[in-house]
Symmetry: C2
Subunit: 607 residues, 2 copies
């Protein structure tokens, strides 16, 4: 037996016991004839005391950092207690020791603040994983995993495994494919999600399904994307949207409770996609703070339920606002005393290519009730007050105004809002605020391909009131410029995203479950009958044999963990992540394969 | 809301309540003006009663099997109670109904004894999955999954996800490979197991790891193999074999308890590989029954610890036995009165090509104490008795004797033993008997390749006493025929299999954790230093930075479920299995992919 106890286990009550421990040498400190060693394992750190009698042996077998050590000795009360660690009251007076394995000097320090750069840490990921910071992340990940499984189990969900070797689909432009040795010339695809299989399980009557499952997407990687990623994938039968929202905000709350010790009793806010875009400029607003966007101009037809006049800004001969499609404002609380340097810096910030605005107007709402503005040549105090009031500004606030093309301006204002909140400390790591965003558009128009594409995926159901609109209208439009007037442009989906602190952590929809409507959807997306049958014949077939109404959701497990762990990067929460080129630099994959392997697969390189 | 209750939930206590149910129409029966419908969902079946008043509506909307139906009505006590189902005391007097979806007539009956053949059921797997028999299997699978996770959690294991897109290795002749769009000409491989990653996690100090994880092998499929299969994959640091055996027989026992309600209190038997081969002719003996093999001849040098003389059979001028490498016998209990027809049939059975023996000798141990034998021309009663005694035969038993080439004969006797046990009803579905098989040979000799191969895998450690043998001897042998005399032939591995009712359900080993020994192992397997570095440099590197002693095990999850469910076929326990050609006939995968996809991947077909 290598150990009787772990390095996190012994307490003052164990004093006098003879124990065997094994672990890694964290530090070696010599005080005269005595040597102290901190021995580390997953469970903690225990101090070892090597007395003078062992000095000869220590000299013959010197200990180094990260050596694997086994010791036998007696638990003793420490004279110099360490209150910072649970084992700090005791130490082991070592009688015997054995070096189980040596260690070369690690290429970077195994500490929270390591001196290792990203590349080096990824190459030696097995050492990076020893660092407490990374260990805590993976422990959190497992806690989320366990919490989710418990909740779903208690609510009658079955974990049912769906296949990894499936079929490439038209939505599968980014499919990873796998040549089949037994079926030369043919390929499997790795799933981007178990979507159709979980729907089939509903058709089969399994009622409640879940999986914590790897999914794959072969696309250019941004910093926060991985070619393989994990979803908490769920589906329920005989449900309406309301049932899904209740069940899965329950899941999120349970995870907060189990993992963060947070009792999230507030009702989860709900917001339509239109409101989110209108008030926050994006479909995953961070609602830990207010700073809603004031719309100062009449909206485009996308915002069917919104009205806004131009009264606040027109008739001022200010050509920038007059010629802009969109003019929007926010109030930054307590910023009225920003210096010229500070407002200039903000202006430069919005002019960066990532944001792409031409400039920034502002109104200082001074504490004495007066208004000072970069546009007071065009607007008098009364008008400035009216604009500031529309943005919800109070005395002491700074109103920031952007103008320009609708889509870009709205997006820029969303970014500016988040940036200001960050600078003002309003985005707190330990505050968590959930939000449902509902009623997404069902379609988006792909101007390049001149066709409708599914915003979510082609299995998403339209809102009940829009089903007739979809069935009774032909998707074709003669003129791409007029797509906004097509009835399809305003069809809303029975879809929902769950947003945490400004990040989409999950999304789903009530699905189409009737063959006719599903065929109409495929047709709307420009798929021929033959193509639909070839790619999704099994699903259309399944819908003919008593498919129940159903819907589901998938949580992005990596991102959820990252947010709960207070990090921006999902990579920190994955044991063996890939880099931005999709490479695992530790094992050096992908790599070339033998000609013999290619031959057996009956494929050739064409590089 | 689609339902207030499930179809398995209502009891006599609910009588008088107005409820809404939704589910599938299992049966429709008309009695005069009344229509009875059995409504089915995952949770059970509830009887619906449609009174005369609904007849017009039913005529306008006739119900058929597998229609999806929603009804609202009152829970009433049944006059004609059905004691076989939990809801059998009540029925729903239907007030309103709505057909949520229709169903075409299914291509086979959705019943335990379906009329659907294998191919049809696989094509319409979503309907097959509705059958109670299949549903029970997947429920059992989930119960095993849940039980294993709970046990491993309680024992401090973390579920840590390892990557699916890894690197092809030399042991990877059967790797599935995945071309990378971002790295043209290079390929990932899908893991045959997370072996090296779980070892790295031990090096990283995670101490106890597990995963229930898909693995992949692109090989010719036997009836009980799948290209993608699931393992319960586990690894522990600072353990010896004894720790592993205790931990994982505990897991097996917990699964018996949770899933089958069996309190498995017996100690789990342990047997060396040599004993298993010697006494049962195979390395995964079914020990629910005895029928040990008697060895009547001196063994080959593989059986270093075994001795057997030829005294019982020699000097009889029986050339078949004299010329045979191996002569083995078993006693079939209570079969002494087999007719000539029965023994002839058994003889034919062993002569089938799958078994490949030339004949079968037998000794009837008559109840009157006399012996009758097919070989009594060569052996008198006294000698027959001596042979029968060696096989442990009692009066009334039938001794069966095979002779021939060692390997084939031993294997044939193992098959014959299982066959006789089956015929005699000794292999009971509801009896479960675990067995550890220990001390496997570390190497096997590949005569074709003229080299040693790892019997388990190249990370398996030799038994401590054999490490010196391995390090101090050169693997090279001049003459393949003399490999049995090479010191490597008798090196035993620190490896163990766990066997349930004659099936290997898991296997593992204590791993090599020293770089020097791992390099020696790669060299022993004929790998050059460069090749070892190229393929496994990351692991060799990891061993330099304080690798702890560690070991693990992987359970074949599909097979474990099948055995617990009393089935021979793992396919029955997989939601969406592939057929013997590796095809998913439901979705029709694998399939051809677009030229555009091939182009982007920069590969060409070479079919």
């Amino acid at each position: 037996m290598y150990r009787t106890h772990t390095c996190g286990e012994l307490r003052i009550e164990n004093a006098g016991e003879t124990v065997t421990l094994a672990g890694w040498v964290q530090t070696v400190r010599k005080f005269g004839a005595i040597t102290f060693v901190d021995l580390r394992d997953r469970y903690g750190i225990t101090q070892l005391l090597f007395g003078e009698i062992l000095n000869d042996q220590l000299e013959a077998n010197p200990l180094g950092r990260e050596f694997v050590l086994q010791v036998k000795g007696k638990v003793s009360e420490r004279s110099n207690k360490n209150k910072n660690i649970p084992t700090g009251d005791i130490e082991i007076a070592v009688d015997e020791f054995k070096i189980l394995n040596k260690s070369a000097v690690p290429p970077f320090t195994i500490q929270d603040d390591t001196d290792g750069g990203d590349d080096l840490r990824m190459k030696y990921r097995y050492l990076d994983l020893r660092r407490n910071a990374v260990k805590k992340n993976l422990e959190l990940r497992y806690a989320v995993n366990r919490s989710a499984r418990n909740y779903l189990h208690e609510n009658g969900f079955y974990d049912i495994e769906t296949p990894f070797l499936i079929k490439s689909t038209p939505e599968g432009a980014r499919d990873f494919v796998v040549p089949s040795r037994m079926n030369p010339g043919e390929f499997y695809a790795l799933p981007q999600s178990p979507q159709t299989f979980k729907q089939l399980l509903m058709v089969s009557g399994y009622d409640r399904y879940y999986q914590i499952v790897k999914c794959f997407r072969d696309e250019d990687l941004r910093a926060d994307r991985q070619p393989e990623f994990t979803q908490i994938d769920c589906e329920m039968a005989f449900v309406e949207q309301e049932d899904i929202l209740n069940m899965f905000e329950g899941l999120a709350k349970r995870i907060f409770e189990d993992v963060k010790g947070i009792d999230y009793t507030d009702a989860v806010e709900r917001m339509t996609w239109e409101d989110a875009m209108w008030n926050y400029g994006n479909d995953k607003p961070d609602i830990r703070f207010e700073m809603k966007i004031a719309n100062l101009k009449k909206p485009s037809s996308v915002y069917v339920n919104k009205t806004a006049g131009n009264a606040l800004i027109d008739n001022a001969n200010f050509v920038v606002f007059d010629s802009a499609e969109t003019v929007v404002a926010i109030a930054a609380p307590g910023c009225s005393e920003y210096t010229r340097k500070q407002t200039d810096e903000l202006t430069e910030w919005v002019k960066r290519p990532q944001i792409g605005m031409k400039g920034l107007a502002f109104i200082k709402c001074n504490t004495d009730g007066s208004y000072k503005s970069s546009i007071d040549k065009f607007y008098n105090g009364e008008r400035l007050k009216a604009i500031a009031d529309a943005a919800g500004a109070k005395a002491g606030d700074l109103v920031l105004i952007l103008a320009g093309n609708e889509e870009r301006t709205r997006k820029a204002m969303s970014e500016l809002r988040l940036e200001m909140a960050k600078r003002l400390g309003l985005r707190k790591d330990n505050e968590f605020k959930l939000l449902w965003v509902l009623d997404f558009p069902l379609f988006e128009y792909d101007e390049e391909g001149n066709r409708w594409v599914a915003r979510h995926h082609p299995f998403t159901s339209p809102k009940p009131q829009d089903i007739e609109v979809m069935i009774n209208n032909n998707p074709a439009i003669e003129d791409a410029a007029r797509y906004l007037d097509h009835p399809y442009a305003n069809i809303k989906a029975n879809a929902y995203d769950i947003v945490l602190n400004g990040n989409e952590i999950g999304g789903g929809s009530i699905r189409i479950f009737q063959r006719e409507l599903q065929e109409k959807m495929f047709a709307a997306l420009g798929m021929s009958k033959e193509e639909a049958q070839h790619k999704f014949g099994f699903l259309l077939g399944a819908f003919e044999y008593g498919a129940p109404p159903h819907g589901g959701i998938a949580f992005g497990f990596d991102r959820l963990c990252a947010i709960l762990g207070g990090s921006e990067s999902i990579r920190d929460f994955i044991a063996f992540p890939k880099n931005n080129s999709g490479r695992d630099v530790m094992i050096d994959a992908p790599s070339t394969i033998d000609d013999k392997q290619l031959e057996e697969l009956q494929i050739k390189l064409d590089v």
